[in-house]
């Protein structure tokens, strides 16, 4: 179409300023889409971390705190749960299965979790998927360890590799349990949950590395790995435990029993309910982020409007010439509309490109540091609707200079009184 060719040629003539405008639109679009994508992916990976667990029990703190440290390994427990309490509650008739967990150590910035082999049977995530081994098997010996997929990838471990556990959350030489090395017996398949970033050892393993740490720090009496094996490795306390019930109707009753447990201050949370609560809190920030991105986009569009209006004067002759060769006034309007739509279209596609490029580059970093797995998927229906809405908005924006030029072209002749 001739008009389109004229638009393109005219745009090419002013390519420098147009390029900058396109870039500003692209950046605002990639911000908007990026926030939307991260929000959706974070929510999914968050929510799909645990399923089919009816109650999680830990020392009394707060529900969100317990959920975060037991499932997401974020934050710390305020106190422990004694083994007696665990056994007492786990043996109630309402409980179908239970899995104890023990946290507090780390290995080269990956959290170490002590548990028993029931964890591999009963822990489920996503749509009821259980943990599978990519290589090897669960621990059988006190000094065996199993690692998640991301740990294996980041630290390049194979079966049989030696692992030194460090005390506390950050691994340093002076806080390491280097007298008791562990050997890798299994590597889990990728799950997209915090399990990928965890090193799993047995509860007896946790006890063994702490036999000479009873005072809270390394004591003068050093026990070798073999000597530790001879000691009583029955755990005296754990950090938390997960419960599955025989009948879910009893959830509230058992939850209340645990909360009122007289032997020890404990609390029980329903993971689904606490996750919903947590998400309600985050939802506010979600909305704020979206609103901010919306404003950035508006800023980009207004920048474009400014550029169009400011060059309007220079283009009066161009419009006059076009009128002279037979263009109708509405062609002038259409010229502006097409140009704006063209700019926004290219800007949007460029923005998407920038976003995908950034995601591709930072994907592994995000998983390692924040545990958020952002899948690079094509845009969903909602994002295409957003595209259409932005194009519509740009048409409205273009009407401003378009109508001005339309009116002027009616008044001006070839001799323009500037």
């Amino acid at each position: 179409m001739i008009l389109l060719r004229i638009v393109l040629k005219s745009a090419w003539h002013r390519r420098t300023s147009l390029l900058l405008t396109i870039l500003s639109i692209a950046i605002s679009v990639s911000l908007l889409l990026g926030v939307d994508k991260i929000r959706k992916e974070a929510k999914n990976s968050f929510i799909n971390t645990i399923s089919k667990t009816d109650l999680i029990v830990g020392a009394r703190s707060g529900p969100t705190n317990l959920l975060l440290y037991s499932v997401f390994h974020i934050g710390n427990a305020t106190n422990n749960v004694s083994w007696e309490s665990y056994e007492d509650i786990a043996s109630s008739e309402e409980v179908a299965w239970s899995v104890p967990i023990s946290l507090g150590d780390s290995h080269r910035s990956f959290r170490v979790m002590g548990t028993n082999t029931d964890y591999f049977t009963y822990y489920q995530y996503g749509q009821g998927q259980t943990l599978n081994f990519a290589q090897g098997q669960a621990f059988t010996d006190v000094y065996d360890a199993v690692i998640g997929a991301d740990v294996a990838q980041a630290l390049d471990y194979q079966l049989g590799s030696e692992i030194i556990i460090a005390h506390g959350l950050v691994s340093t030489d002076f806080a390491a349990h280097d007298d008791k090395p562990f050997s890798l017996t299994g590597i889990l398949a990728k799950t997209g949950t915090p399990v990928d970033r965890t090193v799993l050892i047995s509860l007896e393993g946790i006890e063994a590395i702490h036999v000479d740490w009873q005072g809270g720090a390394r004591s003068g009496i050093e026990l070798t790995a073999e000597q530790a094996l001879k000691m009583d490795l029955q755990p005296k306390a754990i950090t938390a435990f997960m419960i599955g019930l025989t009948n879910r109707i009893n959830t509230f009753r058992l939850q209340r029993t645990i909360t009122e447990y007289e032997e020890e201050p404990l609390m029980a949370i329903i993971p689904g309910a606490t996750l919903a609560e947590l998400w309600q809190t985050i939802a506010v920030f979600e909305q704020v982020l979206l609103v901010i991105s919306g404003f950035v986009l508006i800023a980009g569009l207004l920048g474009m409007l400014t550029m169009l209006l400011s060059t309007l004067n220079e283009r009066r002759r161009e419009m006059a010439v076009l009128r002279a060769v037979g263009a109708h006034p509405y062609h002038i309007l259409l010229l502006f509309v097409l140009e704006t739509v063209f700019i926004v279209f290219i800007g949007y596609l460029l923005g998407m490109g920038i976003l995908y490029l950034l995601l591709a580059l930072t994907q592994s970093l995000l998983v390692e540091s924040y545990g958020v797995n952002i899948a690079i998927t094509p845009p969903d229906a909602q994002q295409w609707i957003l595209f259409a809405a932005i194009l519509l908005l740009s048409v409205l924006v273009s009407l401003v200079p378009g109508l001005i030029a339309y009116r002027r072209s009616l008044q001006d002749g070839l001799a323009i009184k500037v």
Binding site: K43, N44, I47, N48, S51, K52, D54, E93, E94, G126, Q127, T246, N247, R248, I249, N250, T251, F252, R253, Q255, R256, I270, G272, A273, L275, A276, W279, Q280, A283, Q287, L290, V291, G294, I298, L312, N313, A389, L393, L396, V397, L399, V400, L403, I404, R407
Partner: protein, 268 residues
């Protein structure tokens, strides 16, 4: 450039239209949940809290007997501004009219007739607070007010109330019941299995709801609830199944499979 007055007007119109359009679309995109109406059960939880006196309880039943005229299940649940104020009023259930009041007015959706029911309808007759009260009335009258025996008796009555079994009358009945969601299972942010309860965020001051005031619901295909909307009250429609005749913990409870969910809109 100089804009004539008319053109200035043009520009102002267009710019304000754009702004309004944007704000409107932002507003719709960031819609927040509707106001949450706290559903206090009109009956079903005993007005007796630990340590409260018999007089208070009697006043409460008296006051309630004066105001309510039997059970009208099309009533909207009462709104309570404070959980710590007067004990929850109990509406007396006339045993004779029980069949009409328990299984309420029919509601048709997709050619299935659902009976609308409120939470007190889930309690079998022998175990309503009234019934338990009348059972122990003579003993209560014989005891002195405020004595430890009275507290003991209340605890016993409480236990009996809490151990109340499910109402067998409702087995395999298609019902429509409102309530709040406690999520259990979810897929990609859509809740597919949950516990339906009469109140949101049960307070610590009273014991947890007895087994017959909780319904385990599994949603039908396409009727899952988004996790953001899980705080809003809903209507649940489906066939309720009562499992077990005793309070054998492993098997007791109300169950609705293939439930259809609708948002709850209170009529004010």
């Amino acid at each position: 450039m100089k804009l004539g007055r008319q053109k200035r007007g043009y520009c102002a119109c267009i710019l304000s239209a754009m702004t309004i359009f944007l704000i409107a679309s932002c507003g719709r995109a960031g819609s927040s949940s509707d106001a949450i109406i706290l559903v206090t059960p009109s009956s079903g939880e005993p007005a007796v809290a630990y340590g409260s006196s018999l007089d208070e309880w009697e006043d409460a039943t008296q006051a309630n007997a004066d105001t309510t005229q039997g059970e009208d299940v099309t009533d909207e649940p009462t709104q309570s501004t404070s959980n710590l104020a007067a004990p929850a009023p109990i509406s007396p259930i006339e045993p004779a009219a029980v069949i009409e009041t328990e299984i309420g007015t029919p509601f048709i959706l997709d050619n299935v007739e659902y009976r609308e029911i409120m939470w007190d309808g889930l309690i079998p007759l022998d175990f309503t607070p009234d019934a338990i009260m009348s059972k122990y009335q003579k003993e209560l009258d014989a005891l002195e007010d405020g004595s430890p025996e009275v507290s003991e008796l209340y605890s016993k009555m409480q236990e009996e109330y809490n151990s109340a079994p499910v109402n067998e009358v409702l087995n395999e009945v298609e019902i429509r019941i409102p309530g709040f969601v406690t999520p259990l299972d979810y897929t990609d942010g859509i809740i597919t299995e949950f516990l339906l309860v009469p109140n949101l965020g049960a307070c610590i001051h009273v014991p947890p709801p007895p087994i017959n005031q909780t319904v385990l619901v599994r949603t039908a295909e396409g009727h899952g609830i988004k996790i953001e909307d899980s705080y809003d009250p809903i209507w649940v429609m489906g066939k309720i199944v009562t499992e077990g005749t005793t309070t054998e913990l492993a098997s007791a409870g109300y169950n609705i499979q293939e439930a259809i969910i609708e948002p709850y809109q209170p009529v004010q």
